[in-house]
């Protein structure tokens, strides 16, 4: 296992090379550009044997990946922000067609005001499209997710496309030392893609057909069951991954000192790193605080969230998202998990980091302090204490 100094984008590209996709189709957009630049270099230097297809738009990028998957190829694409929104139409074709495509999304703000920096409004606005959604914290997890994503997406019981999200710039463009697995090890972990859900000259079939009102809901139910089955497939992938590579992951969530915590921040993506450091500082001062990081938003870890926070005095959901006219979508999902489990822990919502605004340690400290007094508030960080 070699150590390399890589950005999030590069680490993801290294992971994708190990997964050996046969087709890569992409259109460049900041801050995603580097992952496909890197992959095109790998195709050029033949260290990755794949068709690299330059397309004219994101809509075409995903359409192309769907076409490749529909003939049984392993396909990859990547995008960000407006590009993701532009390909939104195709997202449901991929999920409804049960094509296990992997896409990296560099989380970035959506217009207007025009902004190229990171927040998570692009992917979170598309939670209902039937894609698995994972959120990486660092470059190592990005590489590992890239490799595991195909295992999970292509799992027979799942057969669902996979969107791996990396925070724009903060994760895509920052460098870390990353352990890169050997090819031979990766091949042990991930088998070539085999499916019956493809065009096949030997047994021609109708593909991507329409289904009328009588049976349509049955297909949608099966799609739902498929993405729910990812919960087991994620654990299976992670245990096999740990066996081969020695690195362990904790399933749909990651708990950091939640066991005895009175106050817990729930968040996702790269900001979790800073929350962990803040938890350490506060713990050193005797404060019982913790972090629950959501590694996956779909399938949603309802049981894991409920179990992790059931004994807390209050929780704060920190997210780079707002569903205008209501609250942050992560907050809605978390509260639903608690309600279904019959747990009534006071919860508040902190909207931060929109348009790439930095979330400094002071704001994390502020949330942990604020949780002692507040409940049910929706507060925008960095706009003078504005509450909604």
């Amino acid at each position: 296992m070699a150590k390399e100094f890589l950005s999030g984008n590069e680490a993801f590209a290294y992971g994708i090379r190990l997964a050996r996709p046969q087709v890569i189709s992409a259109y460049p957009i900041t801050p995603q550009t580097i992952v496909v630049e890197k992959l095109s270099e790998m195709v050029e230097d033949t260290s990755l044997q794949a068709e690299f297809i330059h397309v004219e738009s994101e809509h075409s990028a995903l359409s192309c990946a769907i076409g490749a998957s529909a003939v049984g190829a392993r396909a990859f694409t990547a995008t960000s922000s407006q590009g993701l929104l532009y390909m939104a139409e195709c997202l449901t074709y991929a999920s409804g067609g049960r094509f296990p495509i992997v896409m990296m999304n560099a989380n970035r703000s959506t217009a207007l005001p025009w902004n190229i920096y990171g927040d998570q409004r692009d992917s979170l606005s598309l939670l209902d499209c039937g894609w698995i959604q994972a959120y990486a914290e660092n470059a190592q997890e990005s590489l590992d997710l890239a490799l595991m994503s195909y295992y999970i997406a292509e799992h027979k019981a799942v057969s669902t496309p996979f969107m791996a999200n990396l925070d724009g710039f903060v994760l895509t463009h920052t460098y870390e030392v990353v352990e890169v697995p050997e090819k031979e090890q990766a091949d042990l972990f991930l088998q070539p893609y085999k499916t019956e859900n493809k065009m096949d000259l030997a047994t021609p079939r109708n593909l991507a057909f329409s289904v009328g009102p009588d049976h349509n809901i049955a297909f949608k139910y099966k799609e739902h069951v498929g993405i729910l089955n990812a919960k087991k497939a994620i654990l299976e992938a992670e245990s096999k991954f740990a066996e081969i590579f020695g690195r362990k992951y904790s399933g749909l969530t990651e708990s950091y000192h939640t066991e005895d915590a009175d106050y817990i921040i729930i968040t996702l993506g790269s900001i979790a790193g800073l929350v962990k450091e803040t938890v350490d500082k506060l713990r050193a001062q005797g404060e019982k605080v913790g972090l629950l990081r959501l590694r996956y938003m779909r399938p949603f870890p309802n049981e894991e969230v409920a179990a992790a926070v059931k004994n807390a005095k209050a929780i704060g959901v920190l997210e780079k998202d707002i569903s205008f006219g209501n609250e942050g979508t992560v907050y809605t999902n978390v509260n639903s998990a608690l309600q279904k489990a019959g747990i009534s822990v006071p919860s508040s919502n902190y909207i931060g980091g929109l348009g790439g605004r930095n979330i400094p340690e002071e704001e994390i400290l502020y949330i942990f302090e604020d949780l002692k007094n507040e409940k049910g508030i929706i507060e925008f960080l960095g706009v003078g204490g504005a509450k909604a």
Binding site: R98, N197, N206, F209, G212, A218, K222
Partner: protein, 96 residues
Amino acid sequence: MKPYLRQQVPKTFADIPEGTAYEAGFLVTKNAGWRNIRPVVAADKCVGCLQCYLYCPDGVISKAGDKVTIDYDFCKGCGICKKMCRFGAIDMEVEK
């Protein structure tokens, strides 16, 4: 050729395929319920030029010998075939 309608329809949940890939014709349902006029081909006038076949937006016209035939399971009764036919071989009749 008339589209092949698969005789078997799903009865239980287990009959529903996992993805949208299956033997052609599966789950195809007849779709002509809103037609209120139907094109009828006069065999003595039809020369089999296939202009109607080229213009039919629903692809329901096919060749039968040296004439054409219409698949009423899918024809919506738009009348474009009648307008295109230079030989006056197609008439629209009111559905009863």
